[in-house]
Every structure is written in structure tokens, then in C-alpha cells.
Symmetry: C2
Subunit: 378 residues, 2 copies
């Protein structure tokens, strides 16, 4: 992922941003970029990079458990930070990061590239504007994160408690969990059903169903997996003024002409129909994805443009997945938010210690550019 960002910048993909240095503990991984851009500074220790005067901003793309530690050092040493998702693996660590970020005065963004998708932006606009009324229900079936065993074998940190801090909820679904809370807001509780190694030989979950409860009583359902083919990507949000469904690159919108709550209490008919205006919206602008997030980050630094995804927002989807793990570790108990971070950290630490040691899988090769599959898949 880091290599893809490096090539994007080096090739002039982000106006106002230039690549001055790369850093990797494994120098072999830097070979492709050095070969093409021999004047780039290279480091194998990120502290050395931060101590130098080589960069105004850094992009952090390392195993998840190192995210907040490196981000904190980068912010304190006066660097703007773009952090890969998820923000880290434990909410307690992210609280510290957010405190540092707030005091630092630096620009802090997170790579929630799917926030640039026009349909999700439109869904958010509809919900936030009140056009759907009060939230009643939301259901997201997001099971098109299919992965083979070969994927999990491609890096020895993958799909381990110590290396990634979780499975599909920590690695693939963060985009969706973030979009979900970005569009519908945060719930008050999470109940989860996580299945460990259901479809793959891994340590963590590759299938999860979450039930969330919002302040007004609305219920959310979130279903994800890396073991289904072909998967589904369908988000439904129902409110007192109608319903939206996002599927197959289309946003369907049923807009009621009268609030359902009013119809329910005043209608003299047992079975009534409510006048509805139906609209279908398709994509009318490109999903700028990673490049869009990097451009926005650059504009934020240079011109104070508002961030599409503030780094501080990273905590929200992590609260959902941490709470989901806590629930599944506690016989599917409903976990009220905010949850007990100490309890979570203790259990995660136990799992990390007790986990079987990873086999030394071959490292994945460096990536020289963005992949289409990193955009929203419908």
C-alpha cells in the first residue's frame, strides 16, 4: 500500500505534493521505487526519517498495531500525517493519538478512500439533511470482500491477533464500518457474532454479523465475510420519511410525501399506502479514491481545505469493531458504548500471546500502483 502511494506521488499524481523519501525496515521493498527514482532518500528506521528535515508530511502504511505509535512520533516531530486504515487495533491507543493530534496543530488525515465515492456522499447528504426523517433501521450486507487462502498466506502478520489485531472487521470492513457511522451516526451498543477461521486457515474471524442499537431505538445489522462468492454490497437505510438502498452502483430513494409516523397514528385504514416519490441516482462524478484523499490532504496542508476524513475520525469504526470483538468474546453480550478499554486490551493481549506462531509465509511483492479493486466494489 505504501509503495502504491509512493509511486502515485512520485509520478505527480497529487498536485502540490512531491516524494522526497521512503522508509521500510526491509530495504528490498524499496528497490522498485529507488530503481525508478534514484534520487529519493531512503530509510530503514522511521525515527531517522522523522529526525531528518526531509519531509513536511508522512504517509504511514505499516502493520496496524504500529499505526498510532508512529503517528504520534510523526505529529510530535512536526509532520503532517496521513495514516492508513484502520487507525490502530485498540481504541485505548487511539485515544492517546487523538489527544496528541489535537495539540499538535498538524494536519492529520486517515485513508478512508471510500468516502470519496459519490453514492456514499449522496447517502450521507440525504440522511444528514433530515430528508429520510428519523432513523428506523439500517442493514449493510457487505460480503464481497472475498479472499483466498493464498491471500492470507501472503504475509505472516496477516489474519493474526498480534499482527493485524483481527480479521475481516479489522482489515477489510473498516471502510464500511466508517462509512456506516459517517452516514448513520454512531450507535449506543454493539452485539456481535464472529466466526473464527470459518473459511480460511487463520487465527481470526472471517465472518461477522453485528447488531447495533442507536439512541432512538433504531436497529442496525452489519454482515461481512471474506468467504462468500459472489458477495453482496447492499446498504439499506430506512427512516420515518422513506428509504434508501445502495446496490449495484445505484442509489434508490423512496421519499414519502407524508411522515409515516403521522400516517400510522391518523390513518383510519388498516392497510394503507403512502404516496411516495421514487428516484434512482447513479454515479455522476468519479470516485477519486486514494488519490483524492491525498489531494485533499495536500490541499488541507497548503490551503486549509477541510479534510474528507480527519484522522480523529478513525476511532469511530474501531470502536465498532473493538466492541464487536468484546461482544463475541463475552458470549455475544450486548456491549454498551463507550466500552471498557482495559477489558478489551487485556483480552486482546491474551489472545495475542496464546495465538499459535505464524508460519513464515513468503512476503507479498511490492505494489507499484493503485488497484481498481481498492475502489468500492458493487
Amino acid at each position: 500500500m505504501g509503495s502504491a502511494h509512493a509511486f502515485c506521488i512520485a509520478e505527480g499524481g497529487v498536485e502540490g505534493m512531491c516524494l522526497t523519501a521512503v522508509c521500510d525496515i526491509n530495504s528490498e521493498r524499496m528497490a522498485p521505487i529507488i530503481k525508478k527514482y534514484p534520487n529519493i532518500n531512503t530509510y530503514t528506521d522511521y525515527n531517522a526519517l522523522l529526525d531528518s528535515d526531509v519531509a513536511d508530511a508522512v504517509i504511514i502504511a505499516v502493520p496496524h498495531p504500529l499505526h498510532s505509535e508512529i503517528a504520534i512520533k510523526a505529529l510530535i516531530s512536526g509532520h503532517h500525517v496521513m495514516l492508513e486504515k484502520p487507525v490502530d487495533i485498540s481504541v485505548s491507543k487511539v485515544k492517546k493519538l487523538n489527544q496528541v493530534a489535537e495539540k499538535s496543530g498538524m494536519v492529520f488525515g486517515i485513508m478512508f478512500n471510500q468516502r470519496t465515492n459519490p453514492l456514499y456522499k449522496k447517502a450521507r447528504e440525504i440522511v444528514k439533511s433530515g430528508a429520510l426523517g428519523e432513523l428506523k433501521r439500517t442493514v449493510w450486507i457487505i460480503t464481497n470482500w472475498y479472499r483466498t487462502q493464498s491471500y492470507y498466506n501472503s504475509g505472516d502478520w496477516r489474519a493474526t491477533w498480534s499482527g493485524e489485531g483481527g480479521g475481516v472487521l479489522l482489515n477489510q470492513a473498516p471502510h464500511n464500518l466508517d462509512l456506516w457511522q459517517w452516514i448513520c451516526g454512531m450507535p449506543q451498543s454493539v452485539t456481535a457474532f464472529c466466526d473464527i477461521a470459518k473459511y480460511h486457515n487463520i487465527e481470526v474471524e472471517d465472518d461477522a454479523t453485528l447488531i447495533t442499537r442507536y439512541k432512538n431505538g433504531a436497529v442496525g445489522t452489519f454482515i461481512t465475510s471474506t468467504g462468500e462468492y459472489p458477495g453482496t454490497n447492499r446498504l439499506e437505510i430506512s427512516g420515518t420519511l422513506g428509504k434508501i438502498v445502495l446496490e449495484n452502483e445505484t442509489l434508490k430513494w423512496w421519499k414519502l410525501k407524508t411522515d409515516e409516523r403521522e400516517v400510522c397514528s391518523t390513518s383510519t385504514e388498516s392497510f394503507t399506502k403512502i404516496d411516495t416519490e421514487y428516484t434512482e441516482l447513479t454515479v455522476d462524478e468519479p470516485e477519486t479514491a486514494h488519490r483524492g484523499i491525498l489531494q485533499n490532504f495536500t490541499n488541507a496542508i497548503l490551503n486549509g481545505e477541510e479534510l474528507i476524513a480527519k484522522g480523529e475520525d478513525g476511532i469511530f469504526e474501531l470502536i465498532l469493531s473493538n466492541a464487536a470483538y468484546l461482544s463475541s468474546w463475552s458470549a455475544n453480550k450486548e456491549i454498551e458504548l463507550p466500552f471498557d478499554c482495559d477489558e478489551f486490551d487485556k483480552k486482546l493481549s491474551e489472545l495475542s500471546k496464546n495465538a499459535k506462531k505464524c508460519i513464515n509465509h513468503p512476503k507479498s511483492s511490492s505494489t507499484t500502483g493503485y488497484r481498481e479493486r481498492w475502489k468500492v466494489q458493487w
Copy 2:
């Protein structure tokens, strides 16, 4: 409902069946049919009807808690029985009914009229034939059972623990719960989140989410409500050989050319695509609905035709809804099947006793024919 069946038969809607008698404790309700067919025998006590020699078969359409009691008497007295859904409100009562039915030698059917829908029949055929492979997941969002407060006010037995034995899971969703188990089979456990009086002034739930677990580890999600508009009717079933989705009167079928389990373990690619054959099936025969079930019942009596919905099958969907209530009464605990019937009956009895007495709402008017809305709504 009883009136609608009576008119259907009296008008010759069912070949081989004729209407000889009607029975209602409220004689006013029989007025419309007597007016049109003055020679019909009438009763206000069903025992008198059963003791007479007036009928070979009876259709029972009374408040749910009376179903098994009347059905048992009808079977013992030598009548073939067509019972309205749900079969009763407690599984313990239905066990007794099924024992009696088995010994009776009479034809015993249940009004699961949605089993006549060609798309559900096709879905069942696909799953049962093994064409989807092993079940991985099933999700049914069936929230298009919209009801106004006026509906609930239309009968004082409606939406009460003592009168109906439950809410949307007992009255509306039985069709879907039955189809779900008919197509996918019965799960091994049920966890449920039921919301009482969320959208209406009633005693029971009008919103429910069930998580079911099947023998092979597959997970099911069932979401229903009478408070959303416009609702959704979307059934998804995912297996090792592909996926089917039923929505908008269409069955979409993605059929994999190679079993996903084989691809997962043998592919050397991390992100792979599996060759898929896609088919869309629409309705090619009518949904015969109630009339179809009655015709089949008649043919079963006269010619031994196999029943579309055996009365004994009524217990399955009731096991799901009873277990769902037990779960929601027990802090959303996972209820293993078979569940403890005594515990369920005790809790239901307490709720029935403690429930607030119903206001004497106006009775609903008699229905003179089948309604389109009783067919599957997409």
C-alpha cells in the same frame, strides 16, 4: 379470513369442495354469507358443528390460541382439517396436535399460501437439489408488513400476548419463517432482538431481528417489522456453489463453475474471480395462494395428492418464533433447539396474565373475498 374462505368455496372456487356450514361465536359475522347463501347451516358453537354430520372437512380460522384445541377435536371427530397459520402460539400445544393428527388418519393441512409462489418454489428446488452447494449464509429482510395503528385497533385480540400470542413474528412473519425453513432447513439455535410497541400502541413486538445458526455453522439473519414504509422483501441465500437473491418478483442466480471451497484452497492468487453463470428467473406461473392451498387440500382428500403444506409442518416456523421470544425474554441469549417448552409456556402465561386489558376496539368487518395483499408482496 374465515369469511373469505367461505365465499371462495361457496362461489365454486375449489373444485370438489362445497360449503355446507359456517360457524362463528358472533352470529353477526355470518350475516353476509347467509344473506347470499341462505341454505348454509350455521353454528355459534363449533362443537355442535363437529357433532353434526354436516361436513367432511373443516377450515379453522379463529384466534391463534384456539387453533390446536379446535383442530384436535375436529381430527378426533373424523374431520379433515385445514388450519389457518400460525398453527398455534406455543410449540408444546402443537406437539400434542401433531400426535393426534398422525394417529387420526385424516388429511391435515395448514394455510401457508405463500408456498404456492413460484419463485419460492424455485428457490427451494435450487437449494434442495444441491445446486447452491453447502449453505453459507441466508439473510431475509422482510419489512413490508406495514400496519397502521388503526389495524391494531380493529380487533381487541390483536397484538396481545393472550389474544395472538405475539406480534409481527406470530401474525405476519409466519409465512416467511415457514418459507425460510422450507427452503433452507431448520437452524440449531435462535438469538433474537424483539422491540415491543416500537411503532404502535400494542402489547407485543412490531420489530424483530433474528440470528440463526445452522448445523454446518452457517448463519441466518431475519429482519421483520410492521412499522417501516416502504418495506423490503429480499431473501438472499449464499452457498459454496453460488448465491440466489429473491427481490422485486425476480430470482437472481449466480452459479459458480467451480466450488468456492476448492478455489479458496487451491488458487495461487490472493484476489481471484470465479467463473459464474448468471440467470434471472421471473414468475412463469401464477401464485395460486389460498385457493391453491384449498384445491390441493381437496385433492389430497379425494385423490391422495401430496399436500403443499402439511399441518404437521406448522410447528417449524412456530419453533423459530417461540425460540425468538424466549431469547428476547432472556437478554438475547442464544436459544438452542429444541428449547425448553415448559419455560416458554410459563413465561408466556405470565405475560398474558400481567398484560394490560385490551380496550374494547370495534370489531373488524367481515371479509367477503381474498385480497391481493394476502399474496406475496414484493
